[in-house]
């Protein structure tokens, strides 16, 4: 479902003497349907960078980034927009929302975007928010006013509202209490059982071992420093 071949990434800083900073090279990675691959490696090794390359907010310098039958590295904006709507979900570490939109609508939005009717979308959103222990009195409020942990759970609910065939999870269990962590892991396992291909970053080792089928150490993709 997700396959990277010989992907490399560098940043060119035009305003700092056009310095070229290579950050990754020779990335090869494959995730099948129903499989969860955990990204490991020290902080700064490029785990989140790799996710952004797959989601398309970073441009690969070379190589192929296949999600389904689309090469994200070469795709037109509208193809990536369609991919994100119908195929590829992403739970980032930070929730970014329009101020004033109710939490319930934030969570229902991915369903509405694929044409699910209002009532069904809101029912699904409500059940996810309840499962993640967001008190019902907060549902009609904008998550911009929520605590960090609550925002994170809203973000997770939004990521799991629609059943994407492929899913990127950037630290979905960080700073959650045991009960909510267990809920998130149950959601991940449910998605796997439905055949979703998942790439995840989990700092928590127990969580990682519970849901991941294999691991990829991203430090292996660090560019070799010329001796």
């Amino acid at each position: 479902m997700i396959e990277l071949e010989n992907v490399s990434k560098s940043f060119t800083l035009h305003n700092q003497g056009s310095a070229v900073i290579p950050v990754m090279e020779q990335v090869n990675l494959r995730v099948n349907a129903g499989e969860c691959v955990g990204l490991v490696g020290a902080s700064g090794a490029g785990k989140s960078t790799l996710m952004r390359l797959i989601y398309g907010n970073y441009l690969a310098a070379s190589g192929r980034v296949m999600v389904g039958d689309l090469d994200v590295a070469q795709a037109e904006p509208r193809q990536i927009i369609a991919l994100r709507r119908e195929t590829l979900g992403y739970v980032s570490q930070f929730l970014r929302v329009v101020p004033r939109v109710a939490a319930l609508d934030v969570v229902a939005e991915p369903l509405l975007a694929v044409g699910t009717d209002q009532v069904k979308a809101r029912d699904k959103a409500a059940s996810l928010l309840a499962e993640l222990n967001i008190p019902e009195r907060l549902w009609s409020l904008s998550p911009t006013t929520f605590s960090g942990g609550e925002q994170q759970r809203v973000n997770i609910a939004r990521g799991f509202a629609y059943d994407y065939p492929a899913l990127l999870l950037d630290e979905p269990t960080a700073s959650l209490d045991a009960k909510n962590r267990a809920t998130v892991l149950r959601l991940v396992e449910g998605a796997k059982a439905r055949g979703t291909a998942i790439i995840g970053i989990f700092h928590d080792e127990a969580a990682r071992d519970q849901v991941c089928d294999s691991f990829v150490d991203v430090s292996a993709f660090s560019p070799r420093v010329a001796a």
Partner: protein
Amino acid sequence: MGAQMKEQDMTPLLQVNGLTKMYGPRIGCKDVNFDLYPGEVMGIVGESGSGKSTLLNAMAGHHAPDRGEVVFDTRTDGPVDTLTMSEPERRMLGRTDWAFVHQHARDGLRMSVSAGGNIGERLMAVGGRHYGEIREQAADWLGRVEISDTRIDDRPSAFSGGMQQRLQIARNLVTGPRLVFMDEPTGGLDVSVQARLLDLLRSLVREMGLSAIIVTHDLAVVRLLADRLMVMKDGYVVESGLTDQVLDDPQHAYTQLLVSSVLQV
């Protein structure tokens, strides 16, 4: 965000080819090319004088460009270059399938006519004749842009800046356009009023399946509203792509400067 639109091989709603506008020897905008598909929202950013408003006005037919084509997929005749249309045809397009939201609401409203009249006028321009129905639709649209229908007979001069802007949007959208041009729609408004307007624009775009081109210098606005982004400098498009890709991984020196100049809050 093309809600229910499927990615069938559809015709672009708008195709801009080689659009160039000169002011004497000075470049307004040069060789601009892009396709806009139904349901897409595109942002155009750049500093003052970068040519973004010149480009918007040239596309919308407010002034004649020197070269290029602005091909619109019309309901009746398919793709037609709007620059070669007759004046009445273009004016009709401006009242039906196209809408233009000005930065200053007073440029897009008739200040001496009531709020209801401002909305009704556009309906009458496309053949609406039944007074009761027009008034009913005007009241409905005031509600959609969150203006109490008790204000229907008030003149826009009695409205706050944010309300005037929402009224301008209602006046523009009442005829169900397919393409909306917006010039700094949130410029000059308080941030709290901006947020409300952004939320409103987003839901209207989704519900009506609109395509829109939004000129702004506010990167936060494009991140929330636009699927795609074009960055302009000195009349040229220096970078374009998916909005979050251009903002998160800018490739051009000028875009990198622009993105890194934003104050974090």
